[in-house]
């Protein structure tokens, strides 16, 4: 370690805070925006921000998955659905004001409550190893293994879920 390390760390911190602020702001914007398409865009930013966090934490594979699945898959679905159901430029209605306020207060209370509990109880004794690059091979082996901490069974199982969802979604979405 040394200065460079310190600088690295500081840079990492700065990047993190920028990302954190962006994520927070876009999260809020995503759920408050009056235009649905903008809302979706903000969501995309949040997801990208999250992907950024994954990089910061050294999980590049997850970063890739996040980008691929969310930005590539889910957002496309969203955009598609939005275009199908909304006329462009149309503002979407919000809930009644009192309900919004109630929801806001509850959410803030929830943040306060959970934040309080998490902050005071989370284990803060940790020594962060500087993230070394995860080997995809290792991931692949773990994904294909049957020992403890290996994930072949869920991997196989989730395929059933995916298949079922596809079948179900197609059944619902197709005409006749």
């Amino acid at each position: 370690m040394g200065d460079l390390g310190g600088l690295n760390i500081m840079a990492e911190q700065i990047i993190f805070y920028i990302l954190a602020v962006l994520i927070a702001i876009f999260s809020v914007l995503a759920v408050t925006s009056k235009h649905i398409i903008r809302s979706a865009t903000y969501l995309l930013f949040v997801l990208l921000g999250t992907a950024g966090l994954y990089i910061l934490l050294g999980y590049y594979y997850l970063f890739a998955v996040q980008i691929a699945v969310y930005a590539g898959g889910v957002m496309v679905l969203f955009i598609f659905a939005i275009l199908l159901t909304n006329r462009p430029g149309e503002k979407v209605k919000s809930e009644r004001k009192d309900r919004r306020i109630a929801a806001g207060i509850t959410s803030l209370a929830g943040i306060a409550f959970c934040g309080h509990i998490i902050y005071w109880n989370i284990n803060k004794v940790y020594s962060l190893v500087v993230p070394d690059e995860q080997k995809v091979q290792e991931i692949g082996l773990n994904l294909m293994g049957t020992e403890k901490y290996q994930y072949l069974l869920p991997f196989e199982f989730i395929s059933v879920l995916l298949l079922a969802c596809i079948v179900g979604a197609i059944m619902i979405a197709r005409r006749r």
């Binding site: 049957t146 403890k148 290996q150 072949l152 059933v160 879920l161 298949l163 079922a164 006749r176």
Partner: protein, 473 residues
């Protein structure tokens, strides 16, 4: 890497095989041979039920991600029988013109949710558990919206998916916190690490509400009546019996196996939930006119009763719980069966439509009556025994007041069950529902249910068998 150990999951593989065969059949069979799709499906599924009904030695595979204990075979068999009954009852509905084409999907989706429940039941790891939970609920949403040109059905589907996803998000957040505090997702490891710090408690609550949602306990129940009403009747019965049955069993095992250390914390939670669920559901049920909504509230209050078995956390409670699910399955499916037979024929689901039903349909009325009596816990029907046992299990742990409150509620529940019976037997009606002849599979299903209601209580073998493999902390 030894994949052969996976072969021990016979139940899952057998079900998967049925699913695959049906999927292939559905896709590739010609118009002509497609007529035999349903009989083949039913026979295959029945065969699966029979083949997998024998308990085996307990085992762990995939490093403890999949944990089998013999009790699970009973639970899965109960779910299988229930599913079979539902499929039998759905036979006619699937032969309708509008649904004929979707039969393959129906079976595939139903069985995949069932498979999800299997994994949920046998999981030894939160990841498996979560995937199982989602597999049991996401395809379920499409089933709820199955009748997609029906506004109600579509609405119900939307409500279900939104609520389910909301619940699973919170649950997922809870799991993440559990992971954060224990550092592992394996049940066996968590059990020792989970000591009840505040964060762990919060994590537990966040996680548990996901299951409470599935079991539809008050106040996590609000989606239930709407979805039950909107979904096609057979799917409603599937939802109310199979899905719920799996969830309560899982709740019990999780509470006992994973969260056993914080028993003094979850017992009060369940206590409160049981009281609130039973009471609120009963009060709501009183004035329901739509029988599906009515049964929805009834099933919520039944869920409250089930908590009495869970709260004890003993082997006795476990056996009583499984037994209760078995009995509840027969009773509720009988009621829904009658409902679906009549609904498919006449489209009537209002209580006033049932006025004077006995004059024209004595057999259906009779089945409905014993089903409701069984739900109300009236001897000599099985419901009496199951209720008695869960009360007994709770009383054994000293929850007398809870038992007492639950019992007082049985008065209210008896009242509304009697309302239906009154409609069928007592109320005069100029134009009762005309004579309805049910199709053969539905008849079989009703006969199975009736026999089940009649003998499962009086013959103690069922309970005693279940009790052999029940376990506790």
């Amino acid at each position: 890497m030894d994949y052969s150990s996976f072969l021990q999951m016979t139940e899952e593989f057998s079900l998967l095989a049925v699913m695959v065969i049906l999927l292939v059949y559905d896709i590739f069979a010609g118009e002509k041979s497609h007529r035999y799709f349903q009989p083949v499906a039913l026979i295959l599924f029945a065969a699966h039920t029979l083949l997998t009904c024998i308990p085996r030695e307990a085992f762990n595979i995939a490093g403890g991600m999949f944990q089998y204990v013999p009790m699970q075979t009973y639970v899965k068999t109960i779910l299988n029988i229930g599913t079979l009954i539902v499929l039998l009852q759905a036979h006619k509905f699937l032969n309708d013109d509008s649904n004929y084409i979707k039969r393959g999907e129906f079976y595939f989706l139903t069985l995949s949710t069932l498979l999800g429940m299997y994994f949920m039941i046998s999981s030894g790891n939160f990841l498996m558990f979560f995937i199982g939970l989602e597999t049991a609920s996401i395809p379920m949403a499409t089933l709820v919206a199955f009748d997609k040109y029906n506004k109600k059905s579509a609405e119900a589907g939307a409500k279900y998916i939104l609520s389910a996803v909301f619940a699973s998000s919170i649950s997922l957040f809870g799991i993440s916190l559990i992971y954060g505090t224990t550092g592992t997702l394996y049940f066996n490891d968590i059990a020792t690490l989970f000591t009840g710090t505040p964060l762990q408690l919060m994590a537990f609550v966040f996680f548990a509400v996901g299951l409470f949602f599935k079991i539809s306990l008050v106040p996590f129940h609000l989606w239930t009546p709407d979805v039950y009403e909107g979904a096609q009747t057979n799917i409603t019965s599937y939802l109310s019996v199979i899905s719920k049955g799996a969830a309560v069993f899982v709740l019990f095992t999780l509470l006992v196996k994973v969260f056993g250390n914080i028993i003094s914390d979850w017992q009060p939670i369940l206590y409160g939930l049981a009281v609130v669920s039973i009471t609120v559901a009963n009060v709501f049920a009183i004035r329901q006119q739509n029988l599906k909504r009515f049964l929805a509230f009834s099933s919520i209050s039944q869920a409250g009763y089930i908590l009495l078995a869970i709260i004890s956390g003993t082997a006795l409670g476990m056996a009583s719980l499984v037994y209760f699910v078995l009995v509840y399955m027969f009773s509720n499916l009988a009621a829904f069966g009658v409902l679906s037979v009549i609904e498919q024929k006449t489209g009537k689901v209002q209580m006033t439509d049932y006025n004077g039903l006995y004059q024209t349909n004595p057999k259906l009325s009779f089945v409905m009556m014993i089903a409701l009596f069984s739900l109300a816990g009236i001897p000599p029907f099985a419901g009496f025994f199951s209720k008695f046992f869960i009360f007994s299990a709770a009383a054994q742990q000293g929850f007398y007041v809870l038992v007492f409150i639950a019992l007082l509620n049985t008065i209210i529940s008896l009242y509304y069950y009697l309302l239906v019976i009154k409609a069928m037997f007592l109320n005069a009606n100029e134009n009762p529902i005309e004579k309805v002849t049910s199709d053969f599979p539905a008849k079989i299903s009703l006969v199975i249910c009736t026999i089940g209601i009649m003998i499962v209580g009086i013959i103690s073998t069922f309970y005693n068998q279940i009790a052999v493999f029940s376990f506790s902390m």
